[in-house]
Symmetry: none
Subunit: 225 residues, 2 copies
Amino acid sequence: MSGPIKILLAEDEPALGQIVKESLETRNFEVILCEDGTKAYHSYLEYKPELLVLDIMMPKKDGFTLAEEIRKNDMEIPIIFLTAKSQTKDVVNGFEIGGNDYLKKPFSMEELIVRIHALLHRSRKQQKDNILLGKFTFNYTKQLLILGEEEQSLTHKEAELLYHLIQKQNDVLDRSEILKKLWGDDDFFNARSMDVFITKLRKKLKKDENIQIINIRGLGYKLIC
Amino acid sequence: MSGPIKILLAEDEPALGQIVKESLETRNFEVILCEDGTKAYHSYLEYKPELLVLDIMMPKKDGFTLAEEIRKNDMEIPIIFLTAKSQTKDVVNGFEIGGNDYLKKPFSMEELIVRIHALLHRSRKQQKDNILLGKFTFNYTKQLLILGEEEQSLTHKEAELLYHLIQKQNDVLDRSEILKKLWGDDDFFNARSMDVFITKLRKKLKKDENIQIINIRGLGYKLIC
DNA sequence: TGGGCCGGTTAACACACGTTAACACTAGTT
DNA sequence: AACTAGTGTTAACGTGTGTTAACCGGCCCA
């Protein structure tokens, strides 16, 4: 949920696997490299990655079979297949299931990165729900703060602001950063408007006295809990 | 909607354009070939294709600019960009909007076909009939909301609006986007008319209290369930 | 220690949107 | 031609969200 994004990479050729792994790691992904399909399946269960990059031709278990097995557990996880040039027909099969893409070898790292971002973008949206926050559960899409039986509804701006505070939980959320993101511009009036919203959030979060939004003068706000 | 699938192909190099056009036509696509961005835009308006294949480097109007203009009208239509090899950075820009893919020149027809099928699959597979929506089943063509034994009929505009809300389920559907699509123009009166339809939909969706259409002031609506 | 600055808080305000009902238009029916 | 039913638009009034203003207190630095 938080931390670097985990990617499972299944590639039997060690040299290529290592290069891809390292390139992705410089982009702040966490990469689990497996040299065959069976190991990849176990790593999938163990590490619960957010995205899979699977070579099709692999010892023990090929990429498609692996993908089918994993799809039984998870219909959503994005899968990128790596194919040798002669396998374009297989590719059509690989596409039957949603959330897939494929890359023909040889490929550039840029191409891979672009595809990873494109697919993550699509699947990440659905992670904003039911974030735990002290005694509360915060549902971003429904704009709700839930505490036991009670539900408080938030406005869109309140929800956005809280979401960004949570993303930087126990760390400083920069004033100008959030102003540009939610108000589009960091000027005097927007800044005062934001202060009002901080007040509103503090009120709505009062029922858990361990949660506090504290101000860092001149810098921004810190949500602690 | 029925008949062969229309594809708009914008490619300034006549030889390549002709080859691609003919190859696609042998696969039963209907292809409209345009040699520059301006003509492509007009053809888009005239023929309403289901998918766009756009060269990035084109006279008069490049592929990205063209895509941006078309995206203002239609956020859904799949776009495949054709890029020369030195443009991988541009590619990242082109990916910012959903429903895009790109192909590096030179490409094989097989690659193009695979991508076309993949994107059409994505946009077509969300078939318009019997869409599940909470406790309801929504049948777009029959304009029905079904809950158990009960059927509620919707008017055409209600069905269209609901359909677009569902397409963006749990995300914001832009006011002006939907106004342009269903009313043709985003003016004051159409906007008020749309509000009335939102009210009507809310009433008809009341029987599942988990479904809500919430307003995002100044932006649009979000259907959550 | 006092003045400027930053933020806290509350309330007033403007305006986007919600809701209802009356109205207008069309097509089919008598 | 008048009637009806179905659909969408316009009008009128009510509500909620976000902005602005006003007033307040505390922190920092001269």
